[in-house]
Symmetry: C2
Subunit: 386 residues, 2 copies
């Protein structure tokens, strides 16, 4: 009960600084109980006094506002991309306090080598932040399921059946800095991007988040929560059939969305097959200066994205479709074709083009989501503090 | 608190007859509290004594098993189909106690005329059952949203913006029998069919229920609950694009699933354009005697259903896909092609053909779901009884 009340008080403070009286009013706890719980949270380093609360118009001594402690435990996020690694530390308030990103081609590399690079990056980000992380969440471009963060398959990395936590831990031990004993979880990058959109954006409770890095993924958020599916594999939007008789996909099927809107397909359509480096930046640069091939390739990708999104909208009735990840940067050239498809194909329910939006977080979404998930878990259950 | 405890006791009894001691053990309430609550539920006509409980191996007087009262309040379901009307009464245990179905072509008919026929059918079903219904749920082949059971659009009936409860109530008043004052709710037939599958079948917590009458619909069940979407319009599976450049659909888009697996499309493919009466029975009869055109038409529909279902599986990761409604009867000829498509297109996660199943409830599903929903609501909240 005390633990539940600690979480209740901390959750209230997490919505914005407030006085003990305001916390009491918001939680239904007595003033005395709130004061006692607040002392414990302060002693545990989770909460700080922020100075006088805003005047409430009430008579009496002005209260002191309580806020989440920006020097308290942090959230550590990590990201393994096909062409980059990332590390991020956020404080309890969700502010970014450490950020590292390194371009490195990870396709076909041994997990141990990738983890060694990632561990160094994490160490640097933590050092920059000055915070002590409570746990680590790892974002990966693949299917994560079962216990222990088992990466079942990441086609674009060429990885299969990699126990992510077990693979990262020795590298963290070698890198030093006390990170090796952190709890480690892993999740699909689109899932974490979708959660970031929900947590840091001002999105609705029900939306479809569509993103791309090397592959195409989605997160389905229903009632503010991620729809994970019976086996944890929901969101494989890149393998929704768009043209059933279309080109063969790496997955073995024909005409999957990824064959029209994934990296290789869009580069090929733009006449850039084999281009190296950041495909999103390359296409954005070309389309930005009016390159007709790049623009046509992105319009074609937008049409395919719109067709698949229309099917998902007819099936799921989300309030919004949010374009995130690499697609957010390419949105100026994807949106017109996507909007046209959605308008033509979502006809049996209310729909308007304002329901297709672009993520403000863009490609930072999955890594931010990974880090913020850690601090949200701390706030939701501060545990037996004090 | 007393109301919540009444629901707790009633819910425990609803899982199967049990003694007061078993209810106490299952709920954590004291024997004395259970006895008092049981007396109130018996007095309210919701619960009956069923005779000696099964011996539990415990010393002492054998308990008397408590069960839901089969003479208690009933659930009244109604169904408006394009070619039929239906009425069903179930008792608190979910047993069918009254059943009426009448073939009648409702396309383009005035709602008032349809409601008059339906009211007579409901009256007959209630008289047959000998029960007093607690409420009425109406299943319709269209989009139901907003308050008061507003049917926004039912293309196959030719109806738009029909306030269903308000339209049915005067007909119930005219038909007599005291049904006019019942609470009335309405829902999409596929939603109710999916819920029936969950409640009466032995299905998993996460599945996609696909059904057909005149149109093609689906219900998405996640964690045992219906996914309704932001506006209540989820499940429009018939308008998932299958071939984006395919024939124009009544909805205005091109190549929707309904253009390959809906009534008109399948009849046309079977050389039966304009056939009257029950299309499902007609095709089942023809295919059953080996008619090649009927079999080819159903195989084509199965392929389209499999393509669209594969996209939904990749997106949602359900434990099963359940074929219900008219499709359940046509399953012998739909399944092989559907299974082939699913096997070819669901490749990024575990899948096996046993995950595609056929509803045992078949075309009775939506009407059963409508009636059972009423008694489940009574059990979930018996209200201020006694």
């Amino acid at each position: 009960m005390r633990r539940a009340n600690l979480a209740l008080v901390l959750g209230t403070i997490a919505s914005g600084p407030r006085s003990r009286a305001e916390v009491a009013a918001g939680t239904g706890l007595t003033r005395a109980a709130v004061s006692s719980l607040a002392e414990q949270l302060i002693a545990a380093g989770l909460v700080v006094e922020e100075g006088p609360a805003a005047p409430s118009g009430k008579v009496g001594r002005p209260g002191t506002a309580l806020g989440l402690n920006p020097a308290g435990p942090g959230g550590l996020g990590a990201e393994i991309g096909v062409r980059h690694l990332g590390a991020c530390v956020v404080d309890l308030r969700g502010e970014v306090r450490g950020w590292r990103r390194r371009e490195v081609s990870n396709h076909g590399r041994e997990p141990a080598a990738v983890m060694a690079d990632l561990a160094h990056l994490l160490h640097e980000a933590v050092a920059e932040s000055g915070l002590r992380p409570a746990a680590l969440t790892l974002a990966v471009p693949g299917l994560v399921g079962g216990s222990g963060g088992m990466l079942q398959r990441a086609a674009n990395l060429g990885w299969q059946d990699v126990p992510l936590a077990a693979a990262l831990r020795p590298a963290l031990r070698t890198a030093g800095g006390g990170l090796a004993d952190l709890p480690i979880e892993a999740d699909n990058e689109a899932n974490l991007g979708g959660l970031a959109e929900r947590w840091l954006g001002e999105g609705p409770e029900d939306f479809l988040y569509v993103s791309a890095e090397a592959g195409v993924g989605a997160a389905i958020v229903v009632g503010g929560r991620l729809l994970r599916g019976a086996g944890g594999f929901a969101g494989e939007f890149g393998h929704v059939p768009v043209h059933p008789d279309g080109p063969r996909c790496a997955c073995g099927a024909h005409g999957c969305l990824e064959q029209y809107a994934g990296e290789a397909a869009v580069l090929r359509a733009a006449g850039l097959t084999g281009a190296r480096g950041d495909w999103v930046a390359l296409l954005a640069d070309r389309a930005g200066v009016g390159d007709p091939a790049a623009r046509a390739a992105l319009a074609g990708a937008g049409t395919a994205l719109g067709t698949a999104a229309a099917g998902a909208v007819n099936l799921l009735d989300p309030a919004e479709v949010v374009l995130g990840g690499g697609y957010a940067r390419l949105a100026p050239w994807l949106l017109p074709a996507m909007r046209a498809e959605l308008a033509a194909r979502v006809t049996v329910r209310p729909w308007s083009e304002e329901r297709l939006t672009v993520s403000r977080l863009g490609r930072r979404g999955p890594l931010l989501g990974a880090a913020v998930r850690v601090v949200r878990a701390v706030v939701a259950d501060p545990g037996p503090v004090g």
